[in-house]
């Protein structure tokens, strides 16, 4: 197991002493390879807080998170024996807004910033940068440009390249597709699928888009008011009753299938995953 949460509670300290409990009794295991996980839940449900535990950016108030065999607890840092940086290299976390991390004059310098912090030689880091920039679907020519003169989608890609260049074993992305148009979103998701399939890495993404969940995820985690309320297959999630109370949408393909069944007064044998599958089913009944 790469990451293991055991009875994790987390409270944000506050000024007036009434601490805010953002995570409640989380138990969770994440494998090093082969998972494509989506993490969903309404705003404020604790998604970002959860993923920030995965590379020891924040430490549980009670309970523990074990990352690659290293146990992180409340006072881990105070004891000062545990080096957190190696964990952050192995679990790469991309924040929601690329503006949070881009700061160098050129894209190249920005991409090699992470690897260099982890002790990678500059020449090696530059080689990696040339690799990852292509990986995220940008031309090598972009390396010379300033990260601030790029479009929103391009900035996002550069920020992801900066994490990929650290060669993490697990890639975690906080709302990578929010605000992007359909094409930009699909391109990015294909990129993540590519990383997942080609390099066999576990990828975790936070999203509000249920179509993404249904189409790509091998496993879905649902957060609700600090609790992890669902951990399983997407197919089963959307047939559950409580889905409304967790303020989640239904994927479009399920909605239209149900509406068609209703209007055409039929019952399809299976729930189609793609429009092509739905077409095959509809073909049978008309």
């Amino acid at each position: 197991m790469a990451i293991k949460f055991e009875q994790v509670n987390f409270e944000y300290p506050s000024f007036d002493g009434t601490n805010f409990s953002a995570l409640k009794d989380i138990n969770l295991e994440i494998a090093e390879k082969g998972e494509f996980i989506t993490l969903i839940g309404e705003t404020g449900s604790g998604k970002s807080t959860l993923v920030q535990h995965m590379n020891a950016l924040i430490r549980p108030t009670t309970g523990s998170v074990t990352i690659y065999g290293i146990k992180i607890e409340k006072d881990t840092k105070k004891k000062g024996k545990v080096k957190l940086n190696p964990l952050r290299q192995r679990v790469g976390l991309v924040f929601q807004f690329p503006e949070y991390q881009l700061f160098e004059e050129t894209v190249l310098k920005d991409i090699i910033f992470g690897p260099k912090n982890f002790g990678v030689k500059e020449s090696v880091a530059i080689e990696r940068a040339k690799q990852v920039i292509k990986h995220v679907g940008l031309d090598e020519e972009y390396l010379k440009r300033s990260p601030f003169n790029l479009s929103g989608g391009e900035k996002k890609r550069v920020s992801i390249a900066g994490i990929l260049a650290m060669e993490p074993d697990i890639l975690v992305l906080d709302e990578p597709t929010s605000g992007l148009d359909p094409k930009g979103r699909d391109d990015l998701l294909k990129l993540f699928m590519g990383i997942h399939n080609d390099l066999n890495k576990t990828v975790i993404i936070i999203t509000h888009d249920m179509n993404t969940v249904y189409k790509y995820a091998s496993r879905v985690l649902v957060m609700n008011e600090g609790h992890l309320v669902y951990d399983g297959l997407p197919q089963e999630l959307f047939s559950k009753e409580n889905i409304k109370s967790w303020n989640l949408d239904i994927p479009d393909i399920i909605t239209i299938t149900r509406q068609l069944e209703d209007k055409l007064d039929v019952n399809f044998d299976s729930q189609p995953h793609t429009i092509q599958e739905l077409f095959e089913l509809v073909k049978e009944v008309i």
Binding site: Y12, S14, F15, D16, T18, F20, Q52, N55, L57, I58, L84, N85, R88, Q89, G92, L93, V94, F95, F97, E99, Y100, Q101, L102, F103, F113, G114, K116, N117, F118, F148, G162, I163, M166
Partner: protein
């Protein structure tokens, strides 16, 4: 960042909360000036009594005031020591020979080292400092084995002691008064009050309304900026920036990696904000009506009259005695 509060507003219902921010600011200034007018220990103690009375009637816990005094503890201690050591007039109250010997010198260094290393684990740091300092002084005056390295006399004179006491009380009064203001007035009201009081400055071309607008936007965005800074720090920490370690060169880079995104995001934000304000028909310098207006009550007049009474009394005692 759910509960961050700028300033230290403490919700309550006493008369201090019912007052108009303008009258509070004016009252504060009158009382402060009165305090500076007084030159005698007895008088300033009476003033302290008045301030304590205000606290009592206003229902403000002394603990909160003590918390406000904490940051200036060192300043208080410094002025106190300074006054005691350097003022050599009045009658001699106390004198003692301080002797440094071959034994006490290493002992003293050891005590200081011990204090330095242990102080972070002690809850009452200030008290600990005082006790340590007092302990060293006692040792130097009473315990004198071995050959003498150097010796000097510590003399405390009446004027020094009373002067030190006087300055300390004055500082405490001033800090307490301003703490009362910030504890009982919301930042927005304070801002509005200041705006109105500064209004006459428009004669010398200072636009109080614009200053107030800037302050209120700052108040609005400081929590957001802190939140943002925290997220940027986490984002860079994810890329291996360890803000607690690193050589000097790395440190510089780490700070840059924090500041550049802060600036870029703030520029973008202020751009957006300016657009949003203009789109809602904001024109800098143009007259606007206000949702919050201030209203002056009898209470305010009473308090101001009381403060003026104190002020006149202060002048009187200063002149008469």
């Amino acid at each position: 960042m759910k509960n961050i509060i700028i300033g230290q507003y403490l919700p309550g219902t006493s008369f201090l909360y019912k007052m108009d921010p303008r009258s509070k600011i004016i009252a504060l200034m009158i009382l402060m000036i009165s305090t500076f007018i007084l030159k005698d220990v007895t008088h300033i103690l009476i003033m302290l009594g008045v301030v304590l009375l205000i606290l009592k009637i206003g229902g403000i816990p002394i603990v909160r005031i003590a918390r406000g005094l904490k940051p200036i503890m060192i300043l208080l201690l410094f002025t106190f020591t300074f006054q005691i050591i350097f003022i050599k007039t009045g009658n001699l109250i106390f004198d003692t020979e301080l002797t440094l010997t071959v034994f006490t010198l290493p002992l003293m260094i050891f005590i200081i080292l011990f204090w330095y290393l242990t102080r972070r684990y002690i809850k009452f740091k200030f008290l600990y400092l005082l006790i340590t300092a007092f302990g060293i002084l006692t040792m130097l005056s009473l315990y004198t084995p071995g050959s003498v390295l150097s010796s000097s006399t510590l003399e405390v004179y009446g004027d020094g002691l009373s002067g030190a006491f006087f300055i300390m009380v004055r500082l405490i009064i001033i800090v307490t008064l301003s703490t009362i203001l910030t504890l009982t007035t919301k930042p927005t009201d304070l801002n509005l009050g200041l705006e109105k009081i500064l209004k006459p400055l428009s004669i010398i071309r200072i636009n109080a309304e614009e200053i107030a607008m800037i302050i209120s936007i700052a108040l609005r965005y400081i929590p957001t900026l802190l939140d943002e800074a925290n997220k940027i720090m986490l984002a860079q920490a994810s890329r291996g920036v360890d803000f607690t370690e690193g050589k000097f060169k790395d440190k510089v880079m780490q700070i840059i990696s924090l500041l550049v995104p802060m600036f870029i995001i703030s520029f973008k934000r202020s751009d957006d904000l300016a657009n949003a304000m203009e789109a809602r028909s904001f024109v800098p310098g143009k007259r606007r009506t206000r949702l919050h207006t201030l209203s002056w009550h009898n209470l305010d007049t009473t308090v101001i009259v009381f403060c003026i009474f104190i002020f006149i009394s202060a002048i009187t005692v200063r002149v008469m005695f």
